[in-house]
Symmetry: none
DNA sequence: CATGAATGAGACTTCATTCAT
DNA sequence: CATGAATGAAGTCTCATTCAT
C-alpha cells in the first residue's frame, strides 16, 4: 500500500522475508533471483544484502521464521494431559490447516528445503529433527502412560518418520483436490494410522512373519 | 590415453546418463554443471548436446531411465494372485532394496526431482502418477477380491499417497542407520500400515469421531 | 554508551583522519571502505562526507596531514649552518625514526600512494616534489659552500632521487629486522652514500668510462 | 589485425596477458576491470576466466611472465668472470633498458605490485627476494674474490636493498626526462654507488661516527 | 548536529549453449 | 564422428554516495 516510506529495520526485514517466501516457493532456491525478491519486496538489492546477508542467509532466515510459525501452530493445539490419539488428531489437523493457510511457506519448508547442499541443508535437517523429536516424545509418553511394554525412543523414531512422511505426502495430493478440508484429510490419515491398512481393507492384523517373503526374486537391473 | 573407443550411440548415451545421475545426485539439478557431466562421461560437451539435447532433456532422460528401472523392480515382485498383504510386503521390500542399491538414482528421483519448476516438474509429476496408479489398482483389486464394500479408486488414492509418503520418508531415516536392512525396514512399516499406530500403542481402533476435536482453538499467526 | 560527546569540528576531523590512516594502511586505498572508516572513527558516514567530502578527498587530506608531519620531522633536525654530511645524517635519522614511529602514516605515504590514478596521483607527485626540492637545495647549498665546481640543480635532482629511493627501499627491509634501530640503518646507508660501493668493496673509485661496457649485448625479449 | 580467428590456447593466453599488462598498468589492480581487459584482448570475459582463472590469478600470471623476462634480461648480461664493478654497470644498464622498453611491464612490477594484500602480495615479495638474492650473491662473490674481510650475506642485503631502491627511484625521474638514455642514467647511478656522495660532492669519506648526532632534537607530532 | 535508511552502478564470476575446425 | 574455442546472459555481491528524519 504505502510506497516510498522509510520503514524501521524490523518491518523492512519482514517485508523482505514475505517476498522471499513467495519467490523461493515459486522458482525454487536456485532459480529464484535476488533481483526478483528485491523487486517484490519493493526495495533495492543492497538492502537485502545489508539486512539479511546473502542469498543462503536469506533462505535460512525464511526457513527459521516459517518453521517457528509451523512449530508454534502445532504446539499450540497439543496438550500432554489429553490422550495421545486426541493429540495426534489435533496435531495433524493443525498441520493440514497450516499447510492450507500458508501454502508458500509450506512449499519452501517441504519442497525447496530438500535437495539443498551445504549449510542450508544443515538448517533443514535441524528443523526436521526438532519436529520429529517432539512427535517421538509424544508417542513415548503415550506408551508409558498406558503401562505398555516400553518402546524406547530409537524404536519410535522410524514410526514418527513414517507418520510425518505420510502427512507430508498428502499435502501434495491435496493440491489437486480443492474440496478437501483439513478435517477430512485428518480423518483419512487417522484411519490409516490408527487402524492400519489391514483393518481398513478388512484383513487381519499383520503378524510380522508371513511365510516365504524374505527373499523375493531379485530384479535384474543393468548397473550399480 | 585409455578408452578412446568409438562406441555406438546407444552405449555412449548410457555412459552419459550414468555420469549425469551421479552428478545430479551430488549437486542437485541446478548446481550440476554440464562441464562436469561431460568430463565424467569422458566425452566433450557438444556430444552431450548432440545426443541428449539440453540440460533439462538430459535430466528428463535420467528420470525416465531410472524411474523405469524403479517401476520394473517393484513390478517384478508383484503377483496379482497373491494376497494383497503379501504383495504390499513384497513391493515395499523391493522398494527399500532398490533405494539401497541405487542410491544416486533414488536421490535424483526423490530429492532432486522435487522443487523443480517448468517441464521438469511435469515429468516428475507424471512418474509419480504412474506409481500411484499401480498401487491404487493393487488395493482396488484386493478390496474386490475380498468381497468387501467397494472403495472406489478416488478414495483409495489418498491412502496410496500416504503409504508412498511413509516409505519415502523412511529412506531418509535409513541414511543415518547403516545397520538397517530392507527386511527390517519393511517390517517396521508393515507394522504401522497393517496394524496402525492404535494397535501398536495398544489403544482401541480409531472411531472416526472423537468428541469435541473438530475445531481446536485456531493458532494466531501474524500473516498469510 | 561511552563517548557521545559533541566535539567541535576540528577535533572530529582529526579523529576521522586518524581512523582513515589506519584503514587505508591496512587495506589500501581501494579496498578500504568508507563504512569501516566511519565505524572506526565512531561517527556516521554522512558526517564523514559532510566534513571531508569524498573518498578521494579524504585520502588527500590524510596525505596532506601526514606529509606535513613528515616534512616537519625532517626539517626540524636540519640546520643550514651545519656541514652537509651532518645534515644528511640527521635527515636520514629523522626519516627512519618517523617511519618507525608512524608506521601507518608511512605505509599510506609510501605504499598506498603509488599506483593511484587520477587526482590522487597528482597529490602524491606534488608531495614527492616538495621533499626532493628540499634535498636538492640542501646539496646545492653544500656544493656552493665548499667552493666546488657548481653542479646545477637539474644535475643534482637524480642524485637526490636515488638517495630518497635507497632510503625508502630500506624501510621495507627494516620490516623483517626488528632489531634494527634508526641509528643503525642510518649508518648503513651513510656508508653507501658517502663512500660508495666502490670503497665499501675495496675497489678503486669509479672512473666513469670503463672500456667496452657501453653496449652490452642486447637481450632478446619476445615482444613489447 | 586478424579478427575472429580461432586461436590455439597458448596464443590467446599471451594476448590476454598483453592486454592485462596494459590495463593493470593504466588503472592499477583494483580499478582495472576484467571487462576492459577482455575487450582489449579482443575476446569475451568467460575466456579470460576459463584460461586464467580469476582476476588475482591473472595478475599473478602477468607478474610471473614479466618478472621472468625482467630477470632474464638482467641475467643475460651478467658474467661471473667479470669484475663486479663491470657486472653492476651491465646489470644497471640492462635494468634501465628494460624499463625503457617495457614501460607497462615495469609499471605493473614496480608500482602496482606494492600495496596489494593477500596472495598477490606474496607473489610480489617472492619475486623481489629472487632479485635481491642474486645481487647479494654478486656482491658476496666480489668481496671474496678481492680477498677482503668477508661481509656475510646478511650484512650485504641492506646494501643490495638500497641499491635496488635507488635504481627503482630513478625510473620515475626518467619519466620526466625524455632525453635520458639508459647509458646516461647508468653512469649517474654508478657515480653515486661507486664513489658515494662524499666523493661526488668533494668531501672526505664518511667516518662512521660524527660527533653528537646520535640524538637530534625530537620532533613533536600529535599522535602515534 | 547527526544518523538510519536507501540505492545506482558496477565489480567478479559462472553456465548452458553453439560454432568452426 | 568429435572437439577445442568461444560467448550472451545472468547471477551474487559490494561500495561510494545521498536522502529524509
Amino acid at each position: 500500500m504505502s510506497e516510498k516510506k522509510r520503514l524501521p529495520r524490523p518491518e523492512r526485514e519482514q517485508q523482505m522475508l514475505d517476498a522471499a517466501i513467495v519467490i523461493f516457493s515459486r522458482w525454487g532456491y536456485h532459480k529464484a533471483s535476488m533481483d526478483e525478491i528485491a523487486e517484490r519486496a519493493g526495495i533495492s538489492k543492497p538492502m537485502l544484502y545489508l539486512y539479511l546477508g546473502s542469498k543462503a542467509d536469506l533462505f535460512r532466515a525464511c526457513m527459521r521464521r516459517e518453521s517457528s510459525r509451523f512449530v508454534a501452530a502445532i504446539a499450540a493445539v497439543l496438550d500432554p494431559a489429553l490422550p495421545v490419539e486426541e493429540q495426534v488428531y489435533r496435531g495433524l489437523h493443525a498441520f493440514f490447516t497450516f499447510v492450507a493457510d500458508y501454502r508458500d511457506a509450506w512449499n519452501v519448508l517441504h519442497r525447496q528445503a530438500r535437495g539443498q547442499s551445504g549449510p542450508v541443508a544443515d538448517e533443514v535437517a535441524a528443523i526436521r529433527e526438532t519436529v520429529l523429536d517432539e512427535i517421538v516424545e509424544l508417542l513415548h509418553g503415550a506408551v508409558r502412560a498406558q503401562g505398555l511394554p516400553p518402546l524406547d525412543r530409537a524404536e519410535l523414531r522410524p514410526l514418527a518418520t513414517a507418520l510425518v512422511g505420510s502427512a507430508e505426502s498428502l499435502t501434495e495430493w491435496i493440491l489437486d483436490h480443492p474440496d478437501e478440508t483439513p478435517e477430512k484429510t485428518t480423518r483419512r490419515l487417522m484411519g490409516l494410522l490408527w487402524n492400519g491398512l489391514g483393518a481398513t481393507l478388512g484383513g487381519p492384523g499383520w503378524t510380522r512373519d508371513p511365510a516365504g517373503v524374505a527373499s523375493p526374486t531379485p530384479v535384474p537391473v543393468s548397473r550399480a
